[in-house]
Symmetry: C2
């Protein structure tokens, strides 16, 4: 069931009801995104009759104050002052779950609509906040929380609403994609990460990007919008890209493949979902592989329309601000006599195990006779068929990397087999296990 | 100025006003798209409270009648009978400008909303029909008229509405893209076209596809939605792909490039537009080159969000039907007390000449001394700098193809120089002139 059948949200491509006063906007957070939002609102005189920035809130606001915003904007570091001014919409671009969550709740409880870029907050508390919005006739929009300027939520809710979705899959974290596509060109992970940090893609602590929490939060939101279900982040099978090594790209190339961090949510048609985030071995000819740099790419697959791809800037102040302002324009189009959305909050989602999948298994061993026999015997014990064995030359005997790929198998069988394998004493480091995207699934255009 | 600042259209991602009866839909045309629309409406029981198919109109309707639609659907071949039943929305998937135009006008004049897939009708009469809709409180939507299931109109109007657009560029005709990407793999144009016809991509008479009229009509609609301007199709610089030959792909490969039919509309920021449709020599690494088969790809570029790409099935019954049903769902979300759109009809657009552009010039000559001298002298006469001269071996002397690429120049200079060149007697066939997409313009993701 698609969300379009479930929700009553604000109009998105309509214009303001005639005679309606501009929405008075309080901007919470004047960092990179907040400043970019203020800049668009200041520059776009063509929407001045619809959107008016009236307040900027930031901790220690004096040091943030700029001269290029409209002169009548009130600058404050008191959230109570924001509420007291009774704005129509609060734009939350502060981030973080606790404090921002408190502010968003207080705003919604007063019937003040909220536009947020806060993926962690929405992933953790989306249904609760949506319920609060419904109860108080307020709107809650979050296009900016997923894939920055790429209007994927709008596409699911509106432009593709006529379809019945079966899968949403994508590259939702630009940092991981940047790192992996640099490694594909021969860079080390440490070098690619340092470069991403230098360019401002990656945080000083990149854990949330490389370990998958950032993409997981976004996937939770996409699952909600596409399938009307709330999948707690903890239930998404999440794997880190940290252990992908230069050698893995060497082996991947021999397989005609490369690595990407993919986030995938699929419906089984009955309301249960499959959801995963992590490195995947994808065909070199697939759209995922061809998506390089920090770009995001989302494939929305429906029963009728096939796969539709959206890609673009997934982060950065200005693209994210475009998503915020698009949400604000949508709010400005709600007729004044429509009290608020009756967006039905996402229902609890049931997460089921992944399909049987092929896997890439990379071992680094202290070489001795019988290793391959031990591994293949363990796999055979659980009815797992070996697809290929690859071993490049020129590595030291005590640190020998090689790869086994296996045909599609269920997770429990693989887990059991790998437990047996890991019990062996020949490992120089723990094996790496990465799922393989099927060829027919690569969503490459039909030739 | 973006259309979002100009129009008042229906809500797109809202749900129906509470208690509102389902929209009664009359389907005009029961061909491939019409049947796919009926199938989605019949299958999607989750939207039965919002959309109800009540009539199917087709010439000689008896032979079209099927048993899988709801039993209470009325089948008719009388348009008067359709109007007499006073449906809420007419879905026009008949095609053609004259008769369909008459029907759409009669519906709008009665305040009946129209959802259409008819690009030729909208390109020719969009502003007039939009005015008629406004006057009678009806809605007029046409997502299906551009790029089938790829929700590009919705993205421009809604998801990216916060941006200020500078350019919309894309592959809008799947047949041309199929032909050119097959030719890239060594197929002849005749062979690729026959194959496209066999697969149902191309019509028996492929003129409208290969000569650019189909893409031009779509570009006119995108210009309207993105820039609020109506550019008559006749003012779009339109070129055919017919004269691209196998040899051209050979030379393109040497240049690290390939050919695609591109449709481009750009704003100069003051309301004037540049608009063109035709073959372009694009970098092999560009997204345009990597879009193969019959897929459509549209890049929407804005001042703030950079380039956002959408791609997917540009034609076919089911993808087109998804766009139609998405439009119908949007209409079902209009609160009942909102009389109709006040969509401001597109203003007349002013088309200005293209930027100075590099060109690929391919000659086929009866070889004799002095030919290159004659060509380069003519080019120099108009201050056009030669970039490269390429000549492959192994061709007959009386039918010798070679290529000259020139640095960016204005159209009048090139036209004058080529007139001088064509006056020479050495041509075995007329020269081929194709613009070259700048490298920096290829919208490839940042590495």
């Amino acid at each position: 069931m698609t969300i379009s059948g479930l929700t009553r949200d604000v109009p998105a491509d309509a214009a303001p009801a005639p005679g309606r006063a501009p929405l008075r906007l309080a901007l919470l957070g004047f960092g990179t995104v907040g400043q970019a939002v203020a800049r668009i609102l200041t520059e776009r005189t063509d929407v001045a009759d619809r959107l008016r920035l009236t307040q900027v809130f930031n901790r220690d606001v004096a040091r943030k104050r700029v001269s290029w915003t409209p002169a009548d904007v009130a600058w404050t570091d008191s959230f109570d002052a924001v509420l007291a001014a009774d704005p129509d919409v609060i734009v939350e671009v502060v981030g973080g779950v606790e404090t921002a969550g408190t502010w968003v709740r207080r705003a919604l409880a007063r019937g003040i609509s909220v536009v947020t870029a806060n993926k962690l907050l929405m992933a953790a508390h989306g249904p609760e906040l949506m319920t609060l919005a419904v109860e108080h006739g307020a709107h809650l929009r979050f296009e900016a929380a997923v894939a920055g300027g790429v209007p994927v939520i709008d596409a699911i809710r509106s432009g593709l609403a006529g379809d019945r979705f079966t899968r949403v899959a994508g590259i939702l974290n630009g940092t991981c994609n940047y790192i992996l596509s640099r490694m594909e060109s021969g860079e080390s992970m440490a070098g690619a990460l340092a470069d991403a940090q230098l360019r401002g893609f990656a945080e000083a602590d990149p854990s949330s990007d490389v370990d998958g929490q950032d993409a997981t939060a976004k996937l939770v939101l996409l699952a909600g919008v596409a399938f009307g279900r709330h999948v707690p982040a903890a239930q998404v099978a999440t794997a880190s890209i940290r252990r992908i090594d230069a050698i893995d790209f060497q082996y991947a190339r021999r397989l005609g493949r490369t690595f990407r961090q993919l986030s995938i949510v699929e419906s089984d048609g009955s309301g249960a979902l499959r959801a995963s985030v992590g490195p995947v071995l994808v065909p070199a000819s697939s759209r995922f592989a061809r998506n390089t740099g920090a770009q995001n790419l989302i494939l929305i697959t429906g029963r009728h329309g096939g796969a539709t791809a959206l890609s673009g800037e997934g982060a950065g102040g200005s693209p994210t601000a475009v998503a915020v302002v698009s949400d604000l324009l949508a709010l400005s189009r709600v007729p004044a006599n429509v009290a608020g959305p009756m967006e039905r909050p996402w229902e609890p989602g049931c997460v089921i195990p992944p399909h049987a999948t092929a896997y890439y298994l990379r071992f680094v061993v202290r070489d001795r006779p019988g290793i391959l026999a031990a591994i293949t015997t363990a796999l055979a014990r659980y009815d797992i068929n070996v697809d290929a064995v690859l071993q490049e030359r020129g590595f030291p005997k005590d640190q020998l990397p090689f790869v086994v790929t296996v045909e599609p198998c269920e997770v429990p069988a693989l887990t059991a087999a790998m437990a047996d394998v890991q019990a062996e004493g020949f490992h120089a480091e723990p094996p790496l296990v990465v799922p393989v995207l099927p060829e027919e699934d690569d969503a490459a255009p039909v030739q």
